[in-house]
Symmetry: C2
Subunit: 402 residues, 2 copies
């Protein structure tokens, strides 16, 4: 029995279903390891000592490489002085100043722990500002796992979803139609369409500019949920390239290279309303994760981190495209190259994708069959090339199986 | 200008109102320091280097002393291997096993980051189990800062509170009357009444047993919110002394001595429903805080931590009582001695309490004029005696001022 299997058997006794949430490997059967023990750079090791080139980056949080020495030193130095104190450390001011400096649409910042804290808090600010209740959200978009937004409806009451009004991503007319409900406090939107189980899609410029104009027309806040995409596409904000600036943004995941933190940033006009909230948490002011965040964002800024990830993503995408063609598969590679996903043409049940992902795993590449992947600045040319050697073997295995 | 004042001036530009939430010292005027830089044992230092004996324990999280070496070593060792990975570490199983071992009403555990995550998740489990929507909550009780429970209503919609039905703490008849609304999924209750701005009150045994019986009669879940009281009153669960076991408990704050973690524990009958939730977070599986939690709970268990805190609390309460009497003040000391609070008789505006707390602060004791305090196992006899020397000076100052 593998160590992973032993741990799963123990977990089954003390954790409902043996595991829960997005890291639940039970969904993958026994192919995927559930438990991990170590990481370094672009590699992770499971409980049985198997090494993987990591193309998931812990589902997003890792962005400048596992065990990044600069980030870890910043966090450890702060931890050694104090983390959870009777007030924040000076680092809270420094981090807020950094966000305001880096993000043009940020005049202020508030910190919390979960991405869901940030999306929830952003909507509270929008509601406080407008005195309205409704939020327009794209059907199928992931904004967290609180009852108001979790994709699973078990344990959720109708009242908890009653303020959501859905539209279709990239369909401006549907957003305008949804707004007819009135009482709209906010339009909440992800920078691109990164729903699970389907190909990713970029936001169309017309859509991005259209929801900005719609929010303005309604007197509602445009909230960009940067939790998944943030820090990988454009440090200034993911829609900066469209010339579209949100009123509020929600940040988390990669913000501190795995240390737990989230943030809401907002424009000056919403500073007063933000001040009226009672929104807090026992660990929201803790200093270590803030030190890690500052170090992470400075590294990304000073080393051109986005360009590094794009380079890695371009190399991976080109390599996978060539391999798929060489092995006779038609694949769709969608989304930004640094937040990539690959699906097989016509693979509606995802069965082929699942088989290929399992083959990649067996070869030592950790990626996901129905959720987008993530790259980091630790994905050097060498690491991508090694990953491609392994994915090539996986394509070959898949070819011989079909 | 003090360093604290300089930091406040900078914060005012990049954080709404200069600060937010429960650590917002703006509410105290300029008397209280906003920013802290260091802690050790039962002491904290503010940004200007002023040392305080800490009777707040960072509003609860610190329970075995700031910078506890065993806890910090466990967390750092895990951090050095990996924290936020593609799956949890073995430590997640070990921690869940420890909770199941220590807490009689726990057959399983799920982990998250905030106390609010845990109370929210517990209600999701109760709703998933019962298919019902309403939750009975005590008027004025604090269960977190999500829209459904935050004490501030700014940015909150009516729908977000529509599933709450209020009763009066320690008034069983009021809970029974509230239950008449029907569709009751859960009764959510704190182990004792620790509302801010008023004297604390123990749960009456009849009330505790009564809400247990009421939940049984309704087929609803009894949920104890242990976020504030947990780990200080009884490691087995705060109502174990009443012979009352909940169906679900929410834990956080002191669980990992300041490292960010929360948990829901539950009985076997709710394991299946818990398994149906989609409830997750980017950092909920991170290993370092779990290692800190295991170390913290083991220290508390193996050193008789609760008794140590009771000893400190008894000493503090007796000392404060003698000092108040000697200086001619009538005070009320309420709540458990290890989660104490002191108010002045007839001080309805809390003005005298605020003045005394400010005097304590000036003498080098950090405590709070309208929120309960917390003690830790680092509050040795010596530390309590030193604190008492300072509180005596504060009483003297208050006497000469009135």
């Amino acid at each position: 029995m593998s160590i992973d299997a032993e741990l799963r058997a123990r977990a089954a006794k003390v954790i409902p279903g043996g595991m829960y949430g997005h890291l639940n490997a039970v969904l993958h059967g026994e192919t995927y390891p559930q438990f991990f023990v170590r990481a370094e750079g672009a590699r992770q090791w499971d409980a049985d000592g198997r090494e993987f080139i990591d193309l998931m980056c812990s589902w997003g949080p890792m962005i400048v490489g596992h065990r990044n020495p600069v980030v870890e030193e910043a966090a450890a130095a702060q931890q050694a002085r104090g983390d959870c104190l009777n007030g924040p450390g000076p680092i809270m001011v420094e981090l807020a100043e950094l966000l305001v400096e880096v993000i043009p649409a940020a005049d202020w910042a508030m910190f919390s722990k979960n991405g869901t804290d940030a999306t929830t808090q952003a909507l509270m600010v929008a509601r406080a500002a407008t005195g309205r209740t409704k939020v327009l959200v794209a059907h199928g978009a992931y904004h967290g796992a609180d009852p108001w937004c979790t994709p699973g409806l078990s344990g959720v009451t109708p009242n908890q979803r009653a303020d959501n009004v859905e539209f279709t991503y990239n369909d401006l007319a549907s957003a305008e139609a949804a707004a007819a409900v009135g009482d709209v406090a906010a339009i909440l939107v992800t920078p691109f369409k990164h729903d699970s189980f389907e190909d990713q899609a970029f936001a169309e410029a017309e859509f991005a500019r259209g929801v900005r104009a719609l929010a303005d027309r309604l007197g509602a806040a445009l909230v960009i949920d940067e939790v998944r995409a943030g820090w990988r596409l454009d440090l200034r904000g993911s829609w900066e390239g469209f010339g579209v600036r949100p009123d509020l943004s929600a940040w988390s995941k990669a913000m501190a290279n795995g240390h737990p933190i989230a943030a809401v940033t907002g424009v000056d006009a919403l500073r007063g309303p933000a001040q009226t909230l009672y929104s807090t948490g026992s660990f929201w002011f803790s200093a270590s994760a803030m030190a890690a965040a500052k170090a992470t964002i400075e590294i990304l800024r000073d080393t051109g981190g986005v360009a590094l990830m794009e380079r890695a993503g371009d190399r991976l995408r080109a390599g996978l495209a060539a391999q798929a063609a060489a092995h006779g598969f038609v694949v769709n590679q969608t989304g930004p190259v640094q937040i990539p996903w690959l699906s097989f043409e016509g693979d509606e049940t995802l069965a082929r994708g699942v088989a290929w992902a399992a083959a990649c795993l067996a070869e030592g590449v950790y990626l996901h069959p129905w959720h987008n992947w993530f790259l980091s600045t630790a994905h050097t040319d060498d690491e991508i090339d090694r990953a491609l050697q392994r994915t090539d073997a996986a394509f070959a295995k898949l070819r011989s199986a079909v």
